[in-house]
Symmetry: C2
Subunit: 215 residues, 2 copies
């Protein structure tokens, strides 16, 4: 039995079909596209539209979304700093499995702490993690407030709400910044798809947003 | 924003690209193939060979393996009954995500308790879970003992070791039983692949093990 990295009595098992084999099957790279930003900054809307676009291009995608994960894998976690960290740790581990499985993995999480985002980045290879800072002024997020969560936080009904009474640490060097109060959703998705294309990650997919690059 | 099932302030977000869309892209169904059995009964070897076979047929597969998960997602868990249950719960939630992502998901876990396997089954649809009982007499497993874990358990160095001082609850109605002390590895994999084919789950893949079904 092939094994490496013994951890007490738990061994790492190597399987024959590799990430590269799966990528070959699919014709595109697998990466984590990590959308971080304030609540209501637009992460989920971007995830939805980006997935749709990449799927239409023939890409195999999956979205790991903050709220959805809290209904399943992370249903036992709350919103303390420790629980938020564990929330992101587990998601990052799952994202790593998805990248290993050959999938373009879109993660939409507030993920307010730099340290946690760096943990997520550290789990995959350097060229497999694309941090997208979904930048939107908190005043605009408060106006949008689709789930009335800012309203509840501002009135004291919710404690530890990022952007109101809990900090959001702005990324130092994100791979992409999208300003969702200035761009349309379609333009935002264009920006991300072009970045993926420029990095050679989706070369075999049909990319309409990138046609001006080929002329 | 589409949402259902509110759980306090956490909403379920529906994305546009569905499991069916991904399946269409791939030409096969996505299921959980859950291998359960004693340590050293052959689960990991079957997972490896089954994945290789399905990949060669053009299937998109991924293996979630007991030891590997304990190096990542479940690194914080030990081997108490509670921790074993949490181990299986998290894995089952991840398997559900993989099925949703359109992947043939092979799970190789001792998973000794019926209740936990039923939890795993309950998370996906009825036709998406295939329980494979990897049946091998404990005396044969003790002879194999590739990681010398039975030796340690029998000498008292490891406590709570399934098959020695911790129970294994035999499945009542597994979808498939493979007796790894009677079949070769190749025959074992044939049995599982034929089952998948008979259920119409891999119709679009090239199945050499199923050629006698088509005559």
């Amino acid at each position: 039995m092939d094994s490496k990295k013994p951890k007490s009595d738990v061994y790492w098992v190597k399987f024959e079909i590799s990430k590269e084999d799966r990528r070959k099957l699919k014709g595109h790279a697998s990466v984590v596209i990590w959308l971080t930003g304030l609540p209501a900054s637009g992460k989920t809307s971007i995830a939805r539209e980006l997935e749709k676009r990449l799927h239409e291009m023939g890409g195999h995608t999956y979205v790991l979304d903050g709220d959805n994960m809290r209904h399943g894998l992370n249903r036992d976690l709350g919103f303390s700093k420790e629980d938020r960290q564990e929330n992101i740790r587990r998601i990052a581990e799952v994202a790593k499995l998805f990248v290993d499985a050959g999938i373009i993995t879109i993660c939409a999480f507030v993920s307010p702490f730099k340290e946690d985002r760096e943990t997520a980045r550290s789990l995959v290879e350097a060229n497999e993690f694309i941090e997208v800072f979904v930048n939107c002024p908190v005043t605009v997020c408060i106006e949008r407030d689709p789930k009335s969560l800012y309203k509840k936080a501002l009135s004291g009904q919710i404690k530890s709400f990022t952007g109101v009474n809990d900090p959001y640490e702005v990324p130092d060097c994100p791979d992409i910044v999208v300003e969702t109060n200035k761009l349309t959703l379609s333009e935002t998705v264009d920006t991300i798809v072009k970045h993926l294309n420029d990095k050679g990650l989706i070369e075999d997919l049909k990319c309409s947003a990138c046609s001006d690059n080929t002329g």
